[in-house]
């Protein structure tokens, strides 16, 4: 019995979704062809969009800065190809939001312009390198990592999110299996930047290969987690790994923890050891509608339609999803472009994707039973439909919602609970902003 492996604290709520990871889990990471025209978003993270650092006609190398961080919460953006900037144009993101994009014509020379090598591996050097390399949380939210590594409250544990609880996605799993050493170095660098000794890696039970590889690391605690959704939620991961509860309305740092993702650790390794800024990532292409599912190293700014062409789309595809099927948005068209946070591209068939119309709520309480935050989604939905957002917050507890979608997954009436919750949150924010 390896002492470095610990069982996670029980996690009673949440849901058990068929994970469908078998579609792509055994496919090794392949390098995806660089796009002939890279269309790179200037807003790939939470926070202010970056300011363009290039103009039409400029020649940029691969890894050259094209978007400069603006504001405290922001990140640098880098070119993923070498070539000539065609211009800065308006395009739509996967969410359908219009923003500025730098369009670069690829000259196929891949002239690399990387960062300066680092002299040492001290705390400040690593953090400034992370800022420089534009690394954001690659689990999906895209929160700048340097901000997370400078918490306001004392922190003693770094929790690595290797749960990958979203169905279909296997990109983190492949990184863990294929790039174990690199990821471990990245994790150690993150711990150093944070100034903590204690490292917990939370891995779901359905990845035994990864658990075995990671439990060999002497300086880390591997926590085997139950297979449940949303295990990868920060608050629940912290609870299962350390037994601490993040107080409501507080940040993980208030419980003395910082959570980072596997892909983020790998990006940190590349930035520090290889001087490579963040301009590409591993992405899972999956779903019953994909002819060749797999894991690909995709450069930022690659069009989704290029990926779908390469991987093949079956006739019966009904829905394209960017990211995981539980939280990722459905795409209006595939003429959108990958970013630092594009973890998946799913082609779902009618059989997989739910398209039922909502029916009246029958008050069955299934949503409340599975809500990992112990909220009352049916009440939020009810009061939001009635336009009483204050009551939705008071009785339903909408402000604690992590938008995981467990409630809508189990709802027998197929109600759009997440939509109501999102609307309610937006309305409440609007109201507070107005005051």
């Amino acid at each position: 019995m390896n002492l470095k492996i610990k069982k996670g604290k029980p996690f009673f709520r949440g849901i058990h979704v068929p994970d469908r990871k078998e579609l792509a889990r055994d496919r090794a990471i392949e390098v995806f062809d660089a796009p002939s025209v890279a269309t790179i978003a200037l807003s790939q993270h939470i926070g202010k969009p970056s300011e363009p650092a290039v103009k039409a006609g400029d020649y940029v190398g691969m890894g050259q800065l094209i978007g400069k961080k603006s504001g405290f919460i922001g990140a640098n953006i880098f070119s993923s190809v070498s070539g000539t900037v065609l211009g800065i144009e308006k395009r739509q993101s996967v969410n359908g939001i219009t923003g500025d994009y730098v369009v670069i014509e690829n000259d196929r020379l891949d002239k690399a312009v990387f960062l300066e090598p680092l002299k040492d591996r001290e705390k400040e050097t690593i953090i400034s390198r992370i800022t420089e390399a534009g690394i954001v949380g690659m689990g999906g939210a895209g929160f700048p990592v340097d901000v997370k590594l400078s918490p306001k409250t004392p922190v003693d544990t770094l929790v690595i999110n290797a749960a990958e609880c979203e169905p279909y996605l296997t990109c983190d799993f492949r990184l863990m299996v294929e790039k174990t050493e690199e990821v471990l170095i990245g994790i150690r660098l993150l711990a150093k930047a944070l100034g903590v000794e204690n490292i917990c890696i939370g891995i779901e039970k359905n990845k035994p290969e990864a658990i075995e590889l990671f439990s060999k690391a002497e300086d880390m605690q591997t926590v085997v987690l139950k297979k449940a959704y949303p295990m990868g939620s920060e608050k629940h991961l912290i609870y299962c790994c350390t037994g601490r509860k993040v107080p409501t309305g507080k940040l993980p740092a208030d419980a003395g923890c910082v959570v980072q993702n596997i892909a983020t650790a790998y990006a940190v390794y590349e930035a520090v050891e290889k001087n490579k800024p963040l301009y590409e990532r591993v992405m899972t292409v999956s779903g019953d509608g994909a002819e060749n599912p797999g894991n690909f190293l995709v450069r930022n700014g690659t069009s989704y339609s290029e990926i779908s062409e390469k991987c093949g789309v079956k006739e019966n595809v009904k829905m394209f999803v960017s990211g995981g099927p539980m939280m990722g948005p459905a795409m209006l068209s595939t003429d959108v472009y990958t970013t630092k946070t594009s973890s998946g591209f799913l082609m779902l068939t009618e059989k997989e994707a739910d398209t039922n119309a909502p029916t009246p709520c029958i008050n069955c309480g299934a949503c409340a039973d599975v809500c990992p935050m112990k909220l009352l989604p049916m009440q939020i939905d009810f009061y939001t439909q009635a336009g009483d957002y204050e009551k939705a917050e008071k009785i339903g507890g909408v402000k604690n919602c992590i938008s995981c979608g467990s409630c809508a997954y189990v709802c027998p009436a197929k109600r759009a609970l997440v939509q109501s919750i999102t609307l309610c949150k937006a309305k409440l924010a609007e109201k507070r902003g107005g005051k």
């Binding site: 849901i15 979704v17 608050k235 629940h236 609870y239 509860k245 993040v246 107080p247 409501t248 507080k250 789309v313 079956k314 019966n316 595809v317 009904k318 829905m319 999803v321 099927p325 539980m326 990722g328 948005p329 459905a330 795409m331 209006l332 068209s333 799913l346 779902l348 997989e352 994707a353 739910d354 398209t355 039922n356 029916t359 009246p360 709520c361 029958i362 008050n363 069955c364 309480g365 409340a368 039973d369 935050m373 112990k374 009352l376 049916m378 009440q379 009785i395 507890g397 604690n400 938008s403 979608g405 809508a408 997954y409 189990v410 709802c411 027998p412 009436a413 197929k414 997440v418 939509q419």
Partner: protein, 349 residues
């Protein structure tokens, strides 16, 4: 691929639907229905058919009056009114054929006035089947009581072929099992015990309940709490006479009510803590009402308690994950009060 669908997250959904749940309830009611037909024969069959037909027809006519397209109605139909109709029929005595209008009118009242008038599925405040039964009892009290007949099988213990009386529970509450001449086993199997069509054969009801629990339609704790609390309070009211426990649990419509009526989603609380409170209160109210009125009151108790469900929903809620535990919260409040009092005192000086 011609069209892509855009929908809200999550894109994966459990396959269970409202329709599926209602179908499960109908399946769970099959044993009780069959038992009722075997025990009470043709009169039971007519009562059941009439109540189911009138309930379903009421929903269709209501929606047609609202100028809903017939195809849409068929598509929307989620079996809720069929469940209502069947439950309503099962809670009625096997009525004489000349009383055909009772199940018909009760079905119309249950679905029309109690469910559709309030907005249809999911919007009713009280359980329509219960309301329909109570309506029948109040409007046609004489006919309803005259409807009691003995089942096709006599009592196993005493061999009494015919048992005369309104309902054994009435006498039970007054005099005990010996006065009635049936044993606990008789009550359990429904042999020799007159009663409503669906309530006499407990083994059929329990089989249905086990099916519902296995299909995860209901939680086993809730009916168990209700039944146990009713039994215990009855024992307590009779001066801790433990012989009262089984008859009060097995007699009357308690098991039917606990498994199929009280657990109705729409009219029971929507979260676990509130549900526990609800079912305990329901047990207490049932036992007390029985003790006070000496008649079978499960339906009245559920009807009354349905009315306080919105209150329970509003005031008893689970605390969010990560919220300060209640005890600590109270302690903190007391300490804060103390601190402010000390401060005030200091300020005053």
């Amino acid at each position: 691929m011609e069209t892509v669908i855009i929908s809200d997250t999550p894109h994966l959904r459990k396959k269970r639907t409202t329709k599926g749940i209602m179908l499960d309830v109908l399946i769970a009611l099959i044993p009780a229905t069959v038992a009722g037909l075997v025990y009470f024969g043709g009169r039971a069959a007519v009562t059941l058919i009439l109540s189911v037909f009138s309930s379903v027809a009421t929903e269709f006519v209501w929606l047609l009056c609202k100028k809903t397209d017939f195809k849409t109605i068929l598509k929307q139909f989620d079996y809720t009114s069929a469940v209502t109709g069947l439950l309503l029929g099962l809670t009625m005595p096997p009525l004489e054929y000349s009383l055909w209008y009772i199940p018909v009118l009760s079905g119309i009242f249950a679905v029309g006035a109690v469910k559709m008038l309030f907005g249809g599925t999911g919007k009713n405040i009280v359980n329509p089947a219960i309301a329909g039964r109570v309506f029948a009892f109040i409007a046609f009290s004489g006919s309803m009581v005259s409807g009691w007949i003995s089942p096709a099988f006599g009592s196993l213990s005493s061999g009494n072929e015919v048992y005369a009386g309104a309902t054994p529970l009435t006498d039970l509450l007054g005099g005990g099992l010996q006065a009635v001449g049936v044993s606990n086993l008789d009550l359990f199997l429904g042999t020799g015990v007159p009663g409503c069509i669906g309530e006499t054969c407990k083994i059929a009801l329990i089989a249905g309940g086990i099916y519902l629990v296995a299909r995860k339609v209901i939680k086993f704790q809730y009916p168990l709490i209700y039944i146990a609390v009713t039994g215990l309070v009855s024992v307590f009211m009779s001066g801790t006479d433990w012989n009262v426990f089984l008859p009060s649990v097995l007699g009357g419509g308690l098991i039917l009510g606990a498994v199929f009526m009280a657990t109705d989603y729409v009219t029971s609380p929507n979260n676990k803590p509130a549900s526990y409170v609800y079912f305990v209160l329901l047990g207490v109210v049932t036992a007390l009402l029985r003790y006070g009125t000496k008649i079978e009151v499960v339906s009245f108790a559920i009807l009354l308690m349905n009315l306080i469900v919105p209150l329970l929903n509003a005031y008893i809620r689970p605390r969010p994950f990560g919220a300060t535990p209640v005890i600590k919260m109270i302690k903190d409040k007391i300490e804060a009060k103390k601190a402010s009092a000390v401060k005030k005192e200091a300020d005053g000086k």
